[in-house]
Symmetry: D2
Subunit: 340 residues, 4 copies
């Protein structure tokens, strides 16, 4: 059994991780740590786990964690991700980091986006980007992998199969993304107040969200040229889920079956991507509490535009489920272990 | 006092109309009619109105309605709208029709969109399109006006000030619109089932919704040339409200203050349009139960795209509030009467 | 026109007050004050009011408020209510206080319940309890009235007509009350976080909520003897509304029509109480955004228990609507002014 | 592997069953049947299962089902439950019936409650009541077991440990239960329409719900005397979950720790019952998508009343999870298999 720890165990994403790991056939939760004063029952922060997890949440002690664990998930904000990734890797513990700290190959982009200096540039150089469906081959055996952002995953997975195609206009991409409130994390704020979020839709951080450069870096990598997109996130009155509606201009007429075939060839064997019949839109409800990303394809022949719609659970495929998928890939375990 | 009637009084939009008309200083509800077997208390269909409306909902009897009413709202499906508009106008009653039957200047578009032959083409020729902020001057004194669709209003109001500008690419327009469930009306269906709609987002009728040609007809009229857009409606887990996020490519660099000034000049005096400070997105919550359409403007200088976001209450500004605004304009009453 | 002010203008209840007062035919908003650093647009705190209220929210300056206003609403927490009630009344301004500070005739109960010493006991002695349907006659001409709590109103209105009857067991009363999240106010907290409240039901402060002694004091007053109830509040996943399901043991068999008649006689002429047909339960949805309290009566002949269910909007009939009703009664204005 | 079938595979409860059975280590879904015209992909009715279940939903053919399956779940309405239980048992297939048809020991109660004549009285005599925590010993080896109703489970589990105690007044029991909308099943109706259920609370079928006699029969069995309760169901604006707040009068003073000890002794080893610390209320959110029933205990020493609050997921512990737990008990499999 792989001995697993979590640093940042109070986060919503940590609660999901614990739930998944408890069912994972090859892992054992060896330590939970967070910024707490004294050991606490995880049910204090994750009451749905009451009675299910005997391991307390303890103050962070890197030596003890390293002693107890083979593998650690970091569910901390940026900066803390890099800090603990350094501590763990130098103690020989493998790490999947859910913060933004190792998601950028280009450090300048990271430093501009987050407004800080990176504290572990060498580590960053060695850490692959954990979008498993795209970079699977790079993950095995690595000691540190960056887990992609939730919005990012919801935009990259539907775009990856076609971003390098010669029949799309790469300058035309717009993603109109709608997220549930859990994407904002557990800290109470005006935005996450039930009375503000309930029964309301709004756009926010239009073209300025930190996930936009993260999306663009990978798209550019896949396209072999610099790609800019317009990313517009919205807050939707629901707990979980992201629906990304992505608009692309085609450069020459294509039929929906032709495009569907491209996706089918690319994703037909992927265990966590479900391609819908052409013309059908996915729903966030159908992927809630799962590691699936559902993808639907629609075409507007009048304006020669392709519309690709993706749905995923931001806390699972957009965070904790994907993180376990990353761990499985890093350790050479069956990739679906714990996730179906 | 103007004696007002409603044909189709069981509809959600009729419930909203009754609520508004009860507070309107110049109207008196004279008759409510619908496809019922015998007179019924309106509270059976609109329990929120319990004890507030002494007029029963009666079976439709055109002679009696015409005798009792000076003005009639039609809250019926298409085809029934045209049928009762004919009956009422020939009896000398003025009509605001909330169905789609008189919304198209081009009958061929209507007939193709709804798959039926129009039964009152002459009436259609004389009926102006009741988007008051745009066609106000055409409404006064008319005996029949078509009330625009909810999605349509949410797209036309934000686009009208700039659709004819030489600095936008009219071929680039995309509207990603998110609607609450009440847009689907009161008939129970799989789509409107709480367990299907709750906690879920989905796209539907992508590029094929009937409101798309309705939007295009008015945009073309305003632009002075044929305009095609891509309209993608979504269902959001809320009761009321439409948020339309509209994307346009600029043909030359513009600043947000410049664009804001255009809107300010066009809408600065409009009582029901609230322009937000540049860069700020409206929320559907803030227009719920009001006749306001809130509009926000954002700019992505990197891709030179303008993002215009509108929010309105689909049952009020998108239907019943706008219908009363239409009535006020037709009859030369203070336009805000009953609506603030 | 009565010049009205609000101290505590950032609260949700203040937003509702402003909305109501803007339509009130006899009032003019003369000043808004709150704990702010500098004047601010009310739309900052109440974006639904954008462009509708030209009066800024200013730092609290009692002299300026007293100069500008004839009447002031206090939408502050307890202690602040008493503090500003003192300041306003000594300057000759009439006050409706929405805090708990003047709701108790028995100061000892207040002091025990809120764990503080009352700072204005003389004022408390003269302040009637503003449950208008019950104490209407005591309000006219008063300079200070306490506006009842939201839960309290939802329990007292359905119980008042029968609490003194000889056919109920006054020791048997249980109120199982379900409230929307806005009852907790606008300050973000774990409880009001969307992700905690959404899709969840829970009981809280079972038999220990501060509204329980407030309910009991009035019930005892009406019954002419000490009455104890069991009050169990619940949090429901909705924005507005309280549904109170109240259980009473009957001491002798009664029929539902008999009981209905008692309510009919007591409330038949009340403008804001809607009695449902016997056997029918009210819904919070039907009273949302209104000053109505809907009441339904059901009987279980097997166990000889009466079930009375009330529904009201906690922000309107449970707070701001009721406060305006109180003001109307104090000033001798038509009681429904601004509220229908 | 046990070959399992479902008759009634379109129901929401069937969707949950399939999800659970796919992860169950000892079962294989051998056949899905329902009232369909031709074989259909289960994803048509349960889109969350897209790509996960290779077995189609076929028209009901009892011979083929019996040939393919060792065990069948019936997720049909009453009457159909008895019909197919007869068909399956006579073909040697074991059955867990989720309908009401075999839930009553007393046929007269069943026939009065459902207004029909029972078609399989002999089968009813042999079918134990599948409330596993209470009747576990009766289930092993049986060929037919009735799965309890969702509300029923939420009331019986919290009452079972104390119903026979000499310190409660068995005539005083009231259950105020709040259910999510999925309890009404998948058929669209006015009640389940999003626009009616959203943001609303209401009581319904007060003291007349069919689950009341079902509750009373088991309570009477456990108490050794006839017990009547008052059961008042409510509809809450959420998808899943039942919260039952149960009120009991104590006949002599008890402390909360004393009562807690009684529950602890009864349920301390139960894998699916989670007892909360005394004084703490459970939340439906914390049991969503699980087979847990959370129970909280509160005491009002002033009125000497005990308040027991239970929370469960009506589709899991209230239906499909419990049905699998029943199957496990019938077949002698580890009781938690597939359910943790």
């Amino acid at each position: 059994m792989i001995k697993v720890g979590i640093i940042g165990a109070k986060a919503y994403t940590a609660g999901e991780l614990i739930r998944i790991l408890l069912r994972h056939p090859e892992t054992e939760i060896a330590m939970l740590a967070a910024r707490v004063e004294a050991p606490e029952d995880p049910a204090v922060y994750h009451p749905q786990l009451r009675g299910q997890c005997g391991v307390p949440i303890e103050p962070i002690d890197c030596d003890r964690i390293a002693e107890a664990c083979d593998f650690v998930f970091l569910t901390m904000p940026h900066m803390a991700g890099a800090e603990y990734a350094l501590e763990m890797t130098k103690r020989g513990v493998k790490v999947a980091d859910l913060s933004a700290d190792f998601r950028f190959r280009n450090l300048a982009t990271y430093e501009k986006t987050y407004g800080i200096k990176h504290i572990a540039p060498e580590l960053n150089d060695e850490a692959p980007y954990g979008l498993v469906e795209i970079y699977r081959d790079q993950l095995k055996g690595k000691r540190l992998v960056a887990v992609p952002g939730c919005y990012v995953t919801s935009v990259l997975l539907p775009l990856a199969p076609i971003i390098a195609a010669d029949w799309i206009d790469r300058a035309s991409i717009i993603s109109d993304s709608k997220s549930g409130v859990s994407g904002a994390g557990r800290t109470p704020s005006d935005t996450t107040h039930f009375c503000e979020a309930d029964e309301s839709m709004m756009a926010y951080k239009v073209a300025t969200h930190r996930h936009q450069p993260e999306i663009e870096e990978t798209l550019s990598d896949l396209a072999g040229e610099s790609v800019q997109i317009l990313f517009v996130p919205h807050l939707a009155p629901m707990y979980r889920g992201i629906l990304s509606t992505i608009y692309l201009q085609l450069t020459r007429p294509m039929t929906l079956p032709e495009i569907y075939t491209v996706y089918q060839q690319r994703y037909g064997d992927e265990p966590f991507i479900r391609l819908l019949p052409p013309g059908q839109s996915p729903r966030t409800k159908d992927v809630a509490m799962t590691n699936f990303c559902d993808i639907g394809l629609m075409l507007d022949p009048r304006t020669n535009r392709l519309i690709v719609v993706s749905a995923l659970d931001n806390l699972i495929k957009g965070a904790s489920g994907q993180a376990v998928q990353v761990m499985n890939a890093m350790l050479g375990i069956e990739e679906t272990a714990g996730l179906l």
